[in-house]
């Protein structure tokens, strides 16, 4: 018995509510991970380099990806026990940088569900775009749902 129904494969969730990327959120995220490049913090420096505003660190898109994954994890139909969820792998493919002021949405795709060692391994893909539909980032997560021991 696996912890997750394999029938979830192929499930998709359409783009959710727009997420407005704030300048102070980029700065706070950068401070928390120790990202000290000036273009995360200094608006004039980022603009001088050709960006519209401060630039997000390479893993900032996880803020959207985890909100996106939560749509699956909290979906009663998926029947996933959140207390058993562990993050196994993460990949970001950036199509263009995220900057403060962006209005982004994410659609969620369940690409694979397999079982290994009594655990369920769920691969999710969040396609993050502007509200106008321009690709920004593809975030792929491997979520491990630990089986009953």
């Amino acid at each position: 018995m696996t912890a997750v129904d394999g029938g979830l494969t192929g499930r998709t969730y359409p783009p959710g509510e727009p997420f407005v990327v704030g300048r102070e959120q980029i700065r706070a995220f950068a401070v928390a991970v120790g990202a000290d490049h000036p273009w995360h913090h200094d608006v004039a420096a980022a603009r001088g380099a050709g960006y519209a505003d401060v630039v997000a660190p390479p893993t900032f898109a996880v803020v959207l990806a985890q909100r996106s994954d939560a749509r699956l994890i909290t979906d009663p139909a998926a029947d996933i026990d959140y207390s058993r969820v562990v993050h196994g792998e993460q990949r970001f493919t950036h199509h263009r940088p995220i900057v403060a002021g962006d209005e982004l949405v994410a659609s969620l795709h369940v690409d694979a569900v397999r079982s290994a060692g009594g655990h369920a391994m769920v691969t999710t893909r969040s396609e993050i775009t502007t509200v106008g539909g321009h690709p920004v980032c593809t975030a792929v997560s491997l979520i491990v749902v630990r089986g009953e021991s």
Binding site: H37, P38, V62
Partner: protein
């Protein structure tokens, strides 16, 4: 202000420096707030031990994020990082009082001159033990 490193100056096998990243409980709380990941195993000892962990552990995504600074420092531009991936292979326990220190190093594993990119392999260790598996990035250089 810094700008992107030139691809012509980069060779396969070269190292990209060393970064030390220190994490304490306060930093995990700051990361929880900034990222929206409020899982209590990253700030509450009672909850962490109740699910079989040795104690509070860092968010895997904190570790991945902290390690990315070696990429942006080396590339010269945070937007140079086209892709970045890893496996979360070992937990990073964060003591209280005190802190844990990660040591991050990396090397150039491939150069694609037609695409203008370099592939980088990262090595992220806590007290000598690797905590991220297959940590890799592709960066676009000038």
């Amino acid at each position: 202000m810094s700008g992107r490193r030139a691809l012509a100056d980069v060779g396969v096998g070269e190292t990209i420096g060393e970064l030390r990243a220190e994490v304490d409980r306060a930093r995990l709380v700051a990361y929880a707030a900034a990222s929206g990941d409020h899982n209590p195993i990253h700030w509450n000892e009672r909850v962490a031990t109740s699910v079989g962990l040795p104690g509070v552990i860092a968010h895997g995504m904190w570790t991945m994020g902290a390690a990315s600074t070696i990429l942006t420092r080396w590339a010269g531009d945070p937007a140079a990082v086209l892709s970045y991936s890893c496996r979360f292979t070992k937990p990073v326990p964060v003591p209280d009082p005190g802190s844990a220190e990660l040591v991050i190093t990396g090397r150039v594993s491939a150069v694609d001159s037609s695409a203008g990119t370099a592939d980088l392999d990262l090595d992220v260790r806590l007290a000598g033990t690797t905590v991220l598996g297959r940590a890799r990035a592709t960066v676009k250089l000038s």
